[in-house]
Point group: C2
Chain length 157, copies 2
DNA sequence: TATTGTTATACTCTATAACTATA
DNA sequence: TATAGTTATAGAGTATAACAATA
C-alpha cells in the first residue's frame, strides 16, 4: 500500500525537500542524517553491523580498554542502552566482557580478534558510503561541511 | 541519578565528540541535528509547539490548501502519522479540517487566523534559534553549510 | 476495485526505576 | 552509602494492517 521500502524510512527520500522547508537548517540536518544513515546501513549489512554497533566498536577499540560505563559516556548513551549494545556484540563474538582486576563491579569490554577484523572491514565500508554521500560536493566543500558541523557541535570554539 | 535533564537527551551533549568519532560525518550530522533540535524545542516552548508541529504548519500554510495526504507526502511522513499531527493542531485551534468540495474523501486542512499568527511568531523564534546555533560560523560559512546539505540531500544536482 | 482518512496495533529506540554485587 | 552492571518497564515516535466512507 505504501510506496516506502519494507524495511523502514519514508521521509520524502525520493521527492526532495519541499521549497518551504528547504531553507530550514533543522530540515536539512535531519534529512542529511537520514540519507547518510540509509546509505551506511546498506553498506554495513554484509558485515552484520548497524551504524550504532560500528560506533560502539570504534569507541571500544580506541585507547585503553574502558569500562562499559565510560564507553557509554563517550558514546552519549545511557548505561542501560549500553548493556543491550554490548550484549549484541558479545553474541556476535566481536567483544568480550572481563571483570576489572581492581574493581570487580566494572566490566572491561575488549574486542576479540574477530571484532578487530570486522571493525576494519566495516569501518572501510562505512567510510566508502560517506564518500559516496558527499560525492556531489568538491573535496574542499566536503571538508568544509565537516569542519562547520564540528564547530557548531563543540561546546566552545 | 543521571546527569541529563529530566526531559530527554543524554547523548554527550556536554562532553563534546570523542576524537575517534569526531571525524565521522554520521556522528557530526546526528549530533548537530540533536543540538539544534534542543535549541529549537526550547525556543518554541513558549508557543506550545514542537518543531515537527511548526513544520506541519509551515507546509499547510504554503501554496493552496492541500489534502492531508498531500501534506503528509511533502513532510515525508505516513498518512497515519499525519492524522495524529493534525489532531493535535486542531485541538489547539490552529488548523481546521473541511471536506473537499469535489472529492469528499479528502480533508482540506487550513490554518485558522490563530494558526497563522502562531506560525509567524513561532517561525521567528525558530529562526532565531537557528541563528544562535550557527553563531560559531561566519555568515558565509553558515550559508555554505546549508548549501552543502541541500546539495547532498537533493536526488540529483 | 482503488483511494482518503481513521483506528488499532506492533515495533524500535531509549530512558527511568528497581535490584544485585561489589566497594 | 555509593557505584557498575543488569533487568523490567514505560514512554515517544512511527510504521503496518484493517475498516468505513467515497470515488
Amino acid at each position: 500500500m505504501s510506496t516506502a521500502a519494507p524495511g523502514r524510512r519514508n521521509l520524502a527520500s525520493a521527492a526532495g525537500p519541499p521549497p518551504e522547508l528547504a531553507g530550514r537548517l533543522g530540515y536539512l540536518l535531519k534529512h542529511a542524517q537520514l540519507g547518510l544513515a540509509e546509505l551506511t546501513a546498506a553498506a554495513l549489512e554484509p558485515y552484520g553491523l548497524t551504524g550504532r554497533e560500528l560506533a560502539v566498536l570504534t569507541v571500544l577499540a580506541s585507547g585503553e580498554p574502558a569500562s562499559q560505563q565510560q564507553a557509554a559516556q563517550r558514546l552519549g548513551v545511557d548505561r542501560t542502552t549500553m548493556v543491550a549494545l554490548v550484549d549484541v556484540l558479545e553474541d556476535k563474538g566481536l567483544v568480550q566482557r572481563h571483570a576489572h582486576a581492581e574493581d570487580r563491579r566494572r566490566n572491561v569490554v575488549e574486542l576479540t580478534e574477530k571484532g578487530r577484523d570486522r571493525l576494519h572491514q566495516a569501518g572501510a565500508a562505512a567510510q566508502e558510503a560517506e564518500s559516496r554521500f558527499v560525492a556531489p560536493l568538491s573535496r574542499k566543500d566536503a571538508q568544509r561541511l565537516k569542519a562547520a558541523l564540528l564547530a557548531v557541535i563543540q561546546p566552545e570554539g
